[in-house]
Amino acid sequence: MSVIAEEEGAAAVAGIASADWERLKGVIERAVTRVCPRRLTAHRDDIVQAALLRVLDVLGRGEHAGIRTSSYLWQVAYTVTVDELRRVARRREVSLEEGDVIAMPVRRVPDPERIAEGIEAGEAIRACLQALARPRRLAVALHLYGFAAAEASRTLGWDLKQVHNLTYRGLADLRRCLASKGVTP
């Protein structure tokens, strides 16, 4: 029996009509397709399957009320994607520790010098972020994660002007710190 047939069977057991299951599946597929990071492109189908299994698990426990909205399904898609990111990262780290060769497409093997530069830059950025005053560090972190000032203001519960100032000053500190470590930001 294929995985899809198994899912559909489980969906039937959970009391979901085929059309509803298709709609639910469609929402998860759309969410994963839109936001799946490039490094997980090859895992996209696995992520969708894992998200559907998680939804089935909730349905199987009779918690139908939890699956009321698309936003819930997006949350499941997000959760499963992050789990997969962490799993891939852990596997990569373990492989590197054990000295395994990671199979990569030939064209995508990066230049060892660039890898070293990247690691060095990463360490410098993390060290410089840690050196920032905490409020500036939090504002800069959200800025680096792509949050607009208004979004950061809502997430941190701070005044918008305060977020602007902290981000601006934090970025200036970060730039100075990176320059002092010889890293071109």
């Binding site: 929402v27 699956i67 959760t79 992050v82 780290e93 950025i125 939090l138 602007h164 601006y168 970025l171």
Partner: protein, 293 residues
């Protein structure tokens, strides 16, 4: 030039932000990472400031958590704000009588809601805040809530039922297990486990209180208020002020300031650890009622 501030954007022309993001996301994975559900709650603005700050602090040293934050933001931006609910319905939904009943129930619900809103508006002199798009949208929704401390009784500790009797040791152990995600800030999971525990031990007073608090911290204010109301009622004439305090917060956030004020009045009158905070919150709530904001 270091950077410029323009409108909502803070730009730093000398910093290659894309590169910085890539490098941060490629960092080593830290230990004790929060679950993705917790990061989702943080981005949704459902955690208090200190919890968000702690998660962000960790993310600056952990590559996968940094990526989880970037991804959460992308999901939040991409997620359709208004999309038709995707509710799995039973396979026998084609039954027309069932549909008719559902329609009738819907009509009753709408009429009930209209009457309820009308009643509450009258009760508050028509000054209760209403926001377009939701009859009871609360201006208190973003009010930060601190998690209630859970004193783990330990393996030999005692957990009490609502009537004051000690519960069986296995139920106490189950409560400790159920409270583990609460300690880690995963309130959605804590609520799920506590609900399961209460199915088996409906008299477990402490579990119901923490279920109410978990629901409140997970942004499910209406359900939280229902659970905490039961807890307060089970406490008899003088339930602990802490129980009333969290009920008042849930009621405020659920858009029921009139009911919240009643609870705050009692806390202030009784005195104790929450009295001054309750008085402060009561003054704010009254101020908002008076100004209509």
């Amino acid at each position: 030039m270091l950077g410029e501030q323009r409108g909502d954007a803070v730009t730093a022309p000398d910093l290659d932000l894309e590169r910085l993001r890539g490098v941060l996301g490629d960092g080593p994975t830290g230990s004790s990472c929060a679950s993705p559900e917790v990061i989702w709650q943080a981005v949704a603005g459902r955690l208090d400031r200190e919890q968000v700050a702690a998660l962000l602090d960790h993310s600056t040293t952990c590559g996968t958590c940094a990526q989880a934050w970037m991804l959460a933001r992308e999901f939040a931006v991409e997620m359709p704000e208004i999309e038709a609910p995707t509710r799995p319905v039973p396979a026998y939904r084609e039954w027309s009588a069932r549909r008719t009943l559902a329609l009738a129930a819907g009509v009753v619900l709408v009429i009930g809601t209209v009457l309820l809103v009308g009643f509450r508006a009258g009760f508050l002199g028509g000054r209760e805040t209403r926001v377009a798009g939701g009859p009871t949208a609360s201006p208190w929704r973003d009010l930060p809530v601190e998690p209630a401390p859970f004193a783990d009784p330990g393996p030999a500790g005692t957990v009490w039922r609502g009537d004051g009797a000690a519960v069986a040791p296995d139920a106490a152990a189950e409560l400790r297990m159920a409270m583990q995600p609460y300690g880690a800030g995963d309130y959605v999971e804590a609520a799920r486990r506590l609900t399961g525990l209460l199915d088996a031990h409906p008299d477990l007073h402490e579990a119901r209180f923490f279920l109410g608090v978990s629901l409140l911290l997970a942004g499910r204010e209406g359900e939280s208020a229902a659970q905490l109301d039961q807890v307060v009622k089970a406490g008899g004439a003088s339930p602990p002020p802490e129980h009333r305090w969290y009920l008042a917060l849930a009621l405020l956030k659920a858009g029921r300031p009139g009911d919240a004020l009643s609870q705050l009045d009692v806390i202030v009158r009784q005195g104790g650890a929450f009295a001054s905070r309750a008085a402060e919150l009561r003054a704010q709530a009254r101020g908002m009622s008076e100004t209509g904001t």
